[in-house]
Symmetry: C2
Subunit: 226 residues, 2 copies
């Protein structure tokens, strides 16, 4: 400890339930590990398409497994994630492009709201089985996260500006350049070198790589005191 | 603790490096968790084919990631796993059918040798980059594991008997019926219900499910004392 904080970038998309787990655990650990967490909203659809990766739920046994794995992980990670009624439709067919563009606009202009707005969008799609594609859905999430209504409306309009679309494309391309093929992906910077880790289940390994102790997905204040 | 041991079945194939990690960790934890570990050698090739799953290394970014993830995991898990020179050839093209049939013959007739022979075959393919397809390779692994030469030769012949082929098919089919789509797969039996877990990274979750404490991939005797 005491040395300068190591930068950990988290590439995520709110369409990805496992990203939510990684997001919450890293948000907790930024308080007890010597890291600077940088949230990097990116577009999962493009990452899957451009790397030739297939959604895991496309393999029937894998999809069935995810339906059981997600609630077990959510329970252990203490994240209020719940399977939507139409599990496969939500994962495979529902898009997150408008939501991720909105989040990108937030990141570019109101970065303090990035964490709560991302969380509220996950709450909609992955906890309460609500829509995240329509403007009113996005505005509702922004409101719950504390963004004033006029600002939210302004950011929603801004979401379709070329600079926002371009930025989302750039962050997504950056993730792919780091070697990402899915989400959540973490890029840890050590001695000027980037190191990619993938999955909500690589956080213990990531901690070990950083020389930090894994205290489970829910580090308590007592556990966290080093 | 004190209650009757819970049965944990481990379905594995020595072609799978992540299976080796799951295997070693569970072999360690059977000494500190209240479980009965049952090793279930099965054939990964058939599981992938029959469930329509594709080897992760087929996605180039994923393959590149595995080449970095495997040594990092191996180091943290303290398993002497090392990438073979021809990483993709080993994973995608090399077969494990003859090795898994031999292991099945061992399981059927010399179960005490099942653990050490599986380990020696992993040592060959995933630590020393040696062949596991030829009869002499399999005999060498059996010898290192302590199986007398005449018995090894006998088991090698037995490997091609219909009853052995059939048994390997049956165990593989059983894994698929439990919902497996890759390896390592664990089936935990609680109150007469089977629960599938997948991956070398689900052992902490598996422990939590069993009401057992995760002490990292290398539980020390001190840590392990409950």
């Amino acid at each position: 400890m005491g040395s300068s904080k190591k930068l950990v970038e988290l590439f995520y998309d709110v369409l990805s339930p496992y990203s939510w787990l990684g997001f919450e655990v890293l948000c907790r650990y930024q308080k007890c590990w010597n890291i600077e967490l940088r949230l990097r909203p990116a577009f999962l659809g493009a990452i899957m398409k451009e790397t030739g990766n297939q959604p895991p739920a496309m393999v029937p046994n894998r999809g069935m497994y995810m339906m059981k794995d997600i609630p077990r992980m959510a329970n252990y990670y203490q994240v209020p994630l719940q399977n939507p009624k139409d599990f496969f439709g939500t994962i495979i067919e529902k898009g997150s492009l408008s939501a991720m563009r909105f989040i990108t606009a937030v990141d570019m202009t109101q970065p303090l709201f990035l964490e709560p707005i991302s969380r509220e969008l996950w709450m909609r799609i992955w906890s309460r089985d609500e829509d995240i594609t329509q403007p009113e859905s996005i505005l509702a999430a922004a409101g719950t996260a504390g963004l004033p209504a006029d600002l939210a409306q302004q950011l929603l309009e801004r979401s379709s500006f070329p600079e926002v679309k371009e930025r989302l494309k750039e962050v997504t391309a950056e993730a792919i350049r780091y070697g990402a093929f899915g989400m959540p992906s973490y890029v840890v910077h050590v001695n000027g070198e980037p190191h990619l880790f993938f999955g909500s289940d690589r956080l213990e390994l990531l901690g070990n790589f950083l020389g930090e102790k894994w205290l489970g997905p829910v580090p308590t204040p007592l556990n966290a005191r080093m």
